[in-house]
């Protein structure tokens, strides 16, 4: 187990290095814009640009610049996202300040949505599997098909249109639309229901995948030999399903859940943009479109970190759930 963990940790480092290199190459080497321009503003002379580039270290050789950014990715206090390198070129706001401020919003979005999609997706998938070919099964699969096929950005606007715009017209009351007012604390925003529509939109999309997967896995598991044995032993059907069937069927779900949650934590870019939530995803989008390289770098590595850690955690949990898996 220990050796396994070490190997996975090394893999984590490998991935982070590659991600940082890729990000550096894509955003730095082939930039769509010149970050020095952002700092320079309206009236610039070529000399000013040179001076700014020098200040930002943009005139150093590429590998030196990469080194400066890479140093800021080491998770050590004082080095991690240090203010000397990781600041917004335009208004000098440190990247760490932005991420720190935005992470709670993204976490709220991710956790709420993930609870919602588990609550929606799992039961429907399980019941669909048990009552195969019934009306419920068909309806459930239709719902799943819908969720898998509808693009989240369309779904989100349809929901806004109905539950926020039209409800206001029809009933004089509606769910809150997009955005988080600055006067509210995060807790207040949650309690006032400002996350309801984003949670629901995300949940619909993700639940569909889980429904299909759980149904498929459960059906497959249910036809395995050991289930037949359990039934032959005279166990109640419910016990058979929940004790034996589900355990095996849910293990892949754990994998997917871990990955999905990690991805969302890295920033649900589209959802946050559509619903105007000041989270990591929105910051990512703003940084990409305004060539704010330090922001891009910080967020990218953060996102990759979440994904790889999630993989690791999932593997460990998997091991406890399914003793057949070994670690060499």
């Amino acid at each position: 187990m220990g050796r396994y963990l070490i190997r996975r940790a090394l893999f984590l480092v490998l991935v982070l290095v590659i991600v940082s290199l890729l990000t550096f190459t894509i955003f730095f080497k082939l930039p769509a814009g010149d970050p020095a321009r952002r700092v320079a503003g309206r009236v610039i002379t070529p000399e000013t640009l040179v001076a700014i580039r020098h200040n930002l270290g943009l005139d150093k050789p590429l590998w030196v610049q990469y080194g400066r950014f890479a140093k800021g990715l080491v998770p050590w206090p004082g080095l991690f996202l240090n203010k000397q390198v990781y600041f917004n070129y335009a208004n000098n706001v440190p990247v760490s300040e932005e991420i720190y401020r935005r992470l709670p919003v993204t976490i709220t979005l991710a956790i709420g949505a993930s609870i919602a999609w588990l609550l929606i997706g799992l039961p429907i998938g399980i019941v669909s599997a048990i009552r195969r070919r019934s009306l419920f099964d068909r309806a459930g699969m239709l719902f799943a098909l819908f969720g898998v096929s509808a693009p989240i950005f369309w779904l989100a606007y349809v929901m806004l249109y109905i539950f926020w715009f039209k409800f206001q017209q029809w009933f004089g009351w509606s769910l809150p639309g997009s955005g988080l007012p600055t006067g509210e604390s995060l807790m207040q925003s949650v309690l006032r229901g400002r996350f309801l529509l984003p949670w629901f939109a995300l949940a619909l999309s993700f639940a569909a995948f889980y429904t299909r997967m759980v149904r498929g896995n459960l059906i497959e598991t249910m036809s395995e030999d050991y289930i037949r044995t359990a039934r032959a032993k005279g166990l109640a059907e419910r016990r058979v399903v929940f004790r034996h069937g589900l355990r095996a069927a849910l293990t892949p779900v754990v994998t997917m859940f871990g990955l999905d949650l990690a991805t969302l934590l890295g920033g649900a870019l589209i959802t946050e943009t559509v619903f105007n939530l000041p989270g990591i995803g929105q910051y990512t989008y703003n940084s990409v479109t305004s060539s704010n390289f330090p922001g891009i770098m910080g967020v990218t590595v953060l996102a990759s970190f979440f994904i790889v850690v999630a993989n690791l955690v999932v593997d460990i949990v998997y091991a406890f759930l399914d003793p057949r898996v070994r670690y060499t």
Binding site: R37, I44, N92, G179, P181, P278, T289
Partner: protein, 619 residues
Amino acid sequence: MKAITKTIVVTAIFALAATACGGGGGGGGTGTATPTGGGVEKGGTLKLGLSADVSNAYDPQKEYAALSFEFFRCCLLRTLVQFPGLEADNGGNELGPDIAESLPEESADGLTYTFHLKQGIHYAPPLQDVEVTAQDFVRALMRESDPEASAQGYPFYYSPIQGFDDAAGGSIKGLETPDDYTLVVHLTQPTGDFPFRMSMPATAPIPPNPSDPSAALGVAEGHTKDYGRFLIATGPYMFEGSETMDFSVPADQQTKNPGYVPGRSMTLVRNPSWSDDTVRPAYVDRIEVAIGGTDIDLANKIDAGELDMDLSGVPPAQQIQAWQADPNRQDQIHANPSDGVRYLTMNMAMPPFDDVQVRRAIEYVVDKDALRRTRGGPLFGDLAGHFIPSTLLGGLNSDYDPYASPNGQGDVTKAKAEMAQSVYDTDQDGICDAPECKGVLAITDNQPPYPENNAILVDNLSQIGIELDVKTGDRYTFMYDKCLTPESHAAFCPSIGWFKDYPDALTFGPPTLGSESIGSFDIPLAGATPEQLKGWGYTVTEVPSFDDKFAECSAMALGAERLQCWADADKLIMETAPVVPWLFDKDVDLSGDRIVNYTYDSSAGLASLDHLALVGGGA
């Protein structure tokens, strides 16, 4: 007193008189210290929304845009002289004294300006015991002379000051403080519009640091990049929580002003030290600014009563439509000229735009009415027939429209007639057939309504045979990068706008078409030398220049002759056609139900925040 200063003073007095007699909606901004016009009560919290934050976190030497200028002028910073924050026909463009007792004395040769300061004006907490002195203004200009500190600003406006260009953050020879309340400025050449330049926020006083009297830049010492986060106010308002700032510790340990969270929110509260101000009524007690959100979000919040006004954005067309249909809200829709022009630029060193016939053809073919419609229609401005707004020309050229077309919708026939005379139209049928007219690189902004504008322009130009290859991206890092860098060979940059810095045509001509602005906003490369063109890889060897004309007008003293000179320059520009102006911009504001006394600040081009009041005092 020199004749020009007399003119300024006299016009100011007339403006004062006009305002006093006019009364009503204009607001008594230049009356007594705390005027209250008919039915306008003090008090309350004004809730504003901004779709985007200022670009430099309120660093006064770096900020160079209307939004920050308004917050500085109305609320945070006082300067030696200032504009009253009123509409143009209410005296909004008339300079008046602020911290100075009166407008400056000008020497006979125009090389020396003397300012006498009011006494007893103190800074906001935590420096409420520190009085504003002449040295504080020197400090501001010293910081302005540091290229790093003024990186995105306008230090070039202060080059006429002796020793400014060489100071690089150190002492400036041409600035003298014979006593604490007198500032003497020595210039290297006569600069008729110099007093205007002392109204800009970069000249606002920077206090000394009581814990470190030796610090040359006072409290700004050690904050080259981010002084805005430690700003000390002199205006009627300050950032909430300013008093918690502690300048006794080293710069990198000082806590930032808590009242401003960049990109998120800003809260202004009354400055207890504010006194002796004839410029600003400052009715509301508190201003809460929420930053972020699309214009739609902000519009919804205004309709719901959560916000009083969207200051930075453009009201969405559907909201304007709803308000226009609402009989109760008719007088809450405001549209005021912002003394700015929106225009398309053509790189005169890139074929086919090196041929004036092609450029003139494009002047005719552009459907300006459609372009304006994508912005929201006639409410958002008048179609522009020439480049320099007539408001900056004293009304001259207001009928001058050399490329007029029916209803401003473009005239394809006349365009073809011009194109037929071009070398790029080999069969002279009015449609360009040379290969240079295909794949013309156009660099644009990617935010609405520019993509819509692109669709229209692609269609317009295709009618005379020019095929645009349109690339869109972020305005600052992409569009400005490609359009402003001569080496990029961007041919067509249509998403450009220019707004006055202060009410003189000097702020229009040289920054957009003068050779000193190449690499900056002289996108058409007017005035470039053959050596420069060769160095940038162009095959075209010469381009027109407006430098001589600009120099002629800049040297003139303020007055009718100068205005006529700029009007002639405007005509020269239109004949040479490096740009296609299409809109004299108007700022459109929808003021919320709680707002009374809406006033427009023509100097900044935004709503005048120190004149806004809330109904019933915000009760």
